[in-house]
Amino acid sequence: MQKILAIIWKELYITYTDRNLLVIMLATPLALALIISLAFSDLLSGSSDIPISNIPVAIVNRDQGVEMNGAAFNNGQTFINVLVPPANADEQTLADNALYQLTDAVVLSSVTEARAGVNNGTYAAAIIIPADFSERITYSQEHPTVEPASVEVYANPGASVSASIIHSIASSISNQIATGNIAIAATINALIERAQSDPAFGVQFGLISAAGGFQPDFAPAFSGETGAVAIERQTVEGRQVSFNPLVTFGSGQAVFFMLFTAMASANSLLEERRNWTLQRLIASPTPRYMVLLSKFVATFVTCVVQVLLLLVALTIIGSLLSGEFQIIWGTNILAILATVLVTALASAGLGVFVTSVVKTPEQGNVVGSLTAMAMGMIGGVFFSTQGIPVLGTLSRLTIIYWGVDAFGKLSVNRSDIEPNLIFLLLFGLVFFMAGWFIFNRRLNV
């Protein structure tokens, strides 16, 4: 045990006296988080419940609609209903609806006009609903399948955050519509089937329908009120607070830079092999597994310390900018700690694996950086990949997605982070074991 502690101490000492590494580990992510925070300083000031507001968005509904059971449905209209306030809406209605505050949606009839508006910056994004939208997603006895439908979100790259929000909203509304359609179809089908199999019920249902007694209201299925778009969160005290980008961007930066740290720390194994200090360790009466395990633990500890420091620093920054103390990461300290630990474990495991498959420290630097960058891109550090075909799915294979998702959930006091913890734990263990096996085999030639 003394040897393990000695190796870990040596690793940490070297790491924390290396100014270059400290810059990568702490200063860079802090600076980036600070810049992002300042960009969102209005949001953090607490002056508004929804600091990001009035995102200009154009809606072009080309949907031709469908007829189902004798009634006409135009699902594209739902986007307009959800995002554009009724002309006669009073102030209270406008104030109570978060989406009305978040967006400033206008309905346009021309796709060209909408695109031009986005191009010249009038709109942050345009939601363009295709002509066959309803036809594709409507579920009925005559058309018992839901086909993929594309709602185009034409975004202004200069307003990536706003565009990302609009993209998320459009995605949520689309899902809500699809779900609602299936629910309606299933309900009606069930009623018809029962009426067919139970003549007494059929007669009774027919009489009630004829008398106007069956007037189902499916509107809530398409309404934003059912939670299609969640942009609010509650504090423990139940006070509504604003969407906090520090959590999303801060945790993204923290996990992203932790990957670099893990890569650099694990890469020191290769540097030690080149400098022969690794051989000197192995030539000592220290079991080989102890040397590798200590390296892994040191990498893990370095990652944990880095993330904890960043979380604390981001909390302080957030509090300073908002003018009041804010625990932006939520109040479930144990869960936060567990998330930090498994995220660090996953990063350290990946670092050891990358180290095991490259030959030189230079290769390790390149492959490690590329791996971290790829994970950052796919995982959504630079732009949201959710809802983007392939990338959105691939993101779920990254440490960043699961780590940031867990921090996001915890920040709104959700506790359903078990899948995140399990994925990160397994990810870390599998990659560490694979890395251990490969590296040990290469040492023992």
Binding site: Q2, K3, Y13, I14, T17, W276, A283, P285, P287, N444
Partner: protein, 336 residues
């Protein structure tokens, strides 16, 4: 107590090359190192010295064979064997951002030292390598010679019974080299250590070694004291006569063999050397004469050469040494 500190038996190592071919780096090497002696492995670069030592020190697993250190098998009792071994690699195997003392104490812990005992040993070693006043300075601020001394100090810290030193004088100035060679002798005489030394520098090996093993192409081709090995080639000197571009007749060589006492052989070699401006090559003929008591034969050699109208540009007398042994055993020079 075990008579031999190290016993190596049929040690072999085969590597698989990137093209799939197998390379026999070490082939059935066997030798013993006695308690308290300095044993050197001599051979050109790539001969298999480091691979052999890497197997003995537990860095590489032998493909075949075994070795013991103090009676402990390196394959079956590696940790026991390693406790008796101190390692001084050719590379400066130190952490550059740690101080000399921190390096010593860290590696000391790897050998089970701790607390006051570790601190005391670190003091003693720093004293021995004469770096006590620089003990808190980072290694990266040291000169090459100082780094070498700390490199050696780490190997000595746990007072091993056997210390392995791999080319410890590579890349340092003559003064530091002298100091290190003295240190090696001190380790033997004052500390009673057994030293396993590898070098491609024949002069070093000849100076400090009690016994020498000559290794070439992965095979141990000779083992013995320097005297024993030299006897293998006989006690004949080699006289190198430079004759520049002059023509050397076979008749002259025959006259050397028959008219000069002690001469047993004479050959002519045509070499080329760079011109004084370094830009062109010039013929550089050599007559190599093998003779007993070569210095005594020299005046007669010069006289016979002059009689034949040959001007001798320069003369070099090489007494029998390990270089000659290696040449005799392998047909090529050690430095090739």
């Amino acid at each position: 107590m075990h008579q031999n500190m190290v016993e190596v038996r049929d040690l072999s190592k085969t590597f698989k090359r990137s093209n799939g071919e197998m390379l026999d780096a070490v082939k059935n090497v066997s030798f013993d190192i006695r308690q308290g002696e300095i044993f050197s492995l001599l051979g050109p670069n790539g001969a298999g010295k480091t691979t052999t030592i890497s197997m003995i020190s537990g860095l590489l697993t032998p493909t075949h064979g075994d070795a013991t250190i103090g009676g402990h098998s390196i394959t079956r009792q590696p940790l026991e064997a390693k406790k008796l071994l101190g390692v001084v690699p050719q590379e400066i195997a130190l952490y550059p951002t740690l101080s000399a003392r921190q390096n010593l104490e860290f590696f000391g812990k790897m050998y089970g030292l701790s607390g006051a005992a570790l601190s005391k040993r670190a003091d003693e070693v720093l004293e021995f390598i004469d770096l006590k006043d620089r003990q808190h300075d980072k290694i990266e601020s040291f000169s090459g010679g100082m780094k070498r001394r700390v490199n050696i100090g780490v190997g000595l810290l746990h007072q091993p019974r056997l210390i392995y030193m791999d080319e410890p004088t590579v890349g340092i100035d003559p003064q530091s080299r002298r100091r290190i060679l003295d240190t090696v002798k001190q380790m033997q005489t004052e500390m009673g250590m057994t030293v396993l030394y590898t070098s491609h520098l024949m002069e070093e090996v000849q100076e400090i070694s009690d016994r020498v093993g000559i290794i070439d192409h992965g095979e141990l081709i000779a083992v013995g004291t320097v005297g024993d090995l030299i006897q293998k080639v006989g006690e004949e000197d080699r006289l190198i006569l430079k004759v520049g571009s002059q023509v050397v007749s076979e008749l002259l060589l025959t006259r050397f063999r028959h008219e000069v006492e002690g001469v047993t052989g004479a050959t002519h070699e045509q070499a080329h050397s760079n011109g004084s401006d370094g830009s062109a090559t010039q013929p550089d003929g050599l007559i190599i004469v093998i003779a007993r008591r070569g210095r005594r034969a020299l005046p007669d050699l010069i006289r016979v050469a002059n009689d034949s109208g040959l001007d001798i540009v320069s003369v070099e007398v090489r007494e029998p040494d390990l270089e000659a042994v290696f040449l005799h055993l392998t047909g090529r020079e050690l430095r090739d």
